[in-house]
Amino acid sequence: MDQFTLNLLVVGASFVLYIGIAIWARAGTTAEFYAAGRGVHPVLNGMATGADWMSAASFISMAGLIAFGGYGTSAYIMGWTGGYVLLALLLAPYLRKFGKFTVPEFVGERFYSNTARLVAVVCLIVMSVTYVIGQMRGVGVTFSRFLEVKTDTGLYIGAAIVFAYAVLGGMKGITYTQVAQYCVLILAYSIPAIFIALNLTGSFLPQMGIVGSYEPGGVSSGVSFLAKLDSVLTELGFTTFTAHTTNTLNMVLFTMSLMIGTAGLPHVISRFFTVPKVADARASAGWALVFIALLYTVAPAVGTMARLNFTTTMWPAAVSGNALDGEAVAISAFDTDPKLSWVKTWEQTGLLIMTDLNGDGKIQYFNDAPLQAPAKAAEAATKALVDARTKAGLPEAADLTAPEAVAVNGAADAALADLQAKLVAAKAALTDAQGALMVGGKSVADRGWVGNEVTKVDRDIMVLANPEIAALPGWVVALVAAGGLAAALSTAAGLLLAISAAISHDVIKGSFNPNISEKGELLAARISMSFAIVVATYLGLHPPGFAAQVVALAFGLAAATIFPVLMMGIFSHRINKEGAIVGMLVGLVFTAVYIFLYKGWFFVPGTAVYADVEANWFFGISPLSIGTVGAALNFISAYLVSSVTAAPPKHVQDLVESIRVPRGAGAAQAH
């Protein structure tokens, strides 16, 4: 059976499973549609939360990010798990006791204000829509890579599947489907990781392998795995993997921003409305983290091992000794060595590009960062001269630096000669840089190299190509395809539910038509869900150019608006309507403006006030990390405004008292 048929069978089987579950778990009431009837076991709820939380980004991109990022990327690992501690201790039990369906509903009742509720709805929709675009895109891309259909066709298939189980089953259908999706994605992630860990470190647990010793193919080398990785990277001129951060403040704020952003994401919070009791909400956050940890503790091993595997593929001598003691990998090996056939496969997708710049038939992979600026300058100078010659109607020149290249009618043209002088200077600067850049004690020029010949490595292939790099059987490759789809579909469904609940419950029932019947609201929820899927599909087909940057905004907003307002609503009697609204707006505006300063106003290209580089950041704080500062300003301004305005009314203070004790959560759910 060929790989394509196998992919089709495995992915098809997983889809049949999801649809079967959807038919079994149809929702009949709004309580089932919004909160799965509050009857989900905490362990199953934890599993569903794990699938909901771990998106295409966690499954496909994170390990690649770690592989090429080094120690600093641990901010993602700590940030995207530490938020669950905040959820379990500060939010989940109290919001479950409150016993309603959506996050804006809590904000509206606790701060006795429809304005506050609508501000929360706006924040929620901006965050969720942002996320959903990325998921729909992930579905389309995974389909096109593994099932040989167009990205757009893949997106339609994915949207149809989500439509079937999300619109039918609501939270109930989504939750039980996510349990199945979790199982698929964790298997798909762990199996290749275990094989690779065994292969490189002799330990089958990836978590042990990363701190274990380096044993390629079972032969002990006497050094630890991380020391080996660091020494190979140093030899090729890269920063070591374990090198400490150069900007501690920014790393702390970034990690914090991811943590409180995680705790403030409405589609994660609403998972804790589905369990029967307050005690279950506490434990469920723990179970969610257990299932998330199964992937997150493996990701650093997958990333580091993929980086070493990739580097030793380029420098075969590095497997057992120094990389530069041997020759770089020959291009012909990609055709002849079956172990390297994955290089060809991934070159065809355009995600991996190798160019033999010096024409020696080998691919030299090293850090050529110091050469990039002079190489670009030389390229620009060449282009300027060629363009000027074309404009003057001159034919192509064999040698642009020769005197005849700037001659017009036998005499040197002043303007062309000036451009030629600049080109000569730029080329000389590049040659100087090649002479000055030392790799392994010898200059790049002396080695006969021109630049790094691995001109593009898309980070995402580190996970997707893993089973092929480790030469695993075809069904593992198929499983990884199904896993990537499960990760993207489960997150998309959770986000779509959060959006549709906000529209049907907070906007329609909360503001326009409070007397809507149970049946009417359920229909409204299904219609808004369908509408949300159509919008998400459209945006997935026509992604705004800024989709990646908006993710920073989503986390920043969750951190600076939703998390503080929920926490103050629970832990303070005194914060009132005015304080909450001012706090949310201050957090929202401050965070959005700081991001826009570096990314462009509303992400319109070319409107950024400052270039997004570390030298320009205020106090060295990156736009990705600013959510923490926004949250602090939210807390401060809410406190100041509340202390000069009237205290909340008695019934609101009683509400705060009541959510602080678990007893009576069952009664609170009745409307």
Partner: protein, 85 residues
């Protein structure tokens, strides 16, 4: 809230547990994982320095223990104060 005093004592106990948990949460992630890492370079877990291990793996294990310990402690507290479900 028929018994305001007992519910205040329950809440004060809860706040105390939360505070202790969050101190541990902060020290193990931001402390060992980032801020104190340069000072802990001499200590190792296998092939990794202690700070590196906490940043990539250890902090997650601490987070897990914290959440389950909190859930267990609070369930006990609920019963002590008679506010369990």
């Amino acid at each position: 809230m028929s018994d305001r005093t007992s519910s205040n004592a329950y809440w004060a106990a809860n706040i105390r547990i939360i505070t202790i948990s969050l101190v541990i949460w902060f020290v193990c992630s931001f402390g060992f994982g980032i801020i104190l890492r340069p000072m802990l370079m001499g200590l190792h877990i296998g092939g990794a320095d202690l700070g590196f291990w906490f940043a990539f793996n250890g902090s997650i294990y601490v987070f897990l223990i914290l959440i389950f310990a909190y859930a267990w402690r609070m369930n006990k507290l609920d019963k002590e104060f008679g506010v369990e479900e």
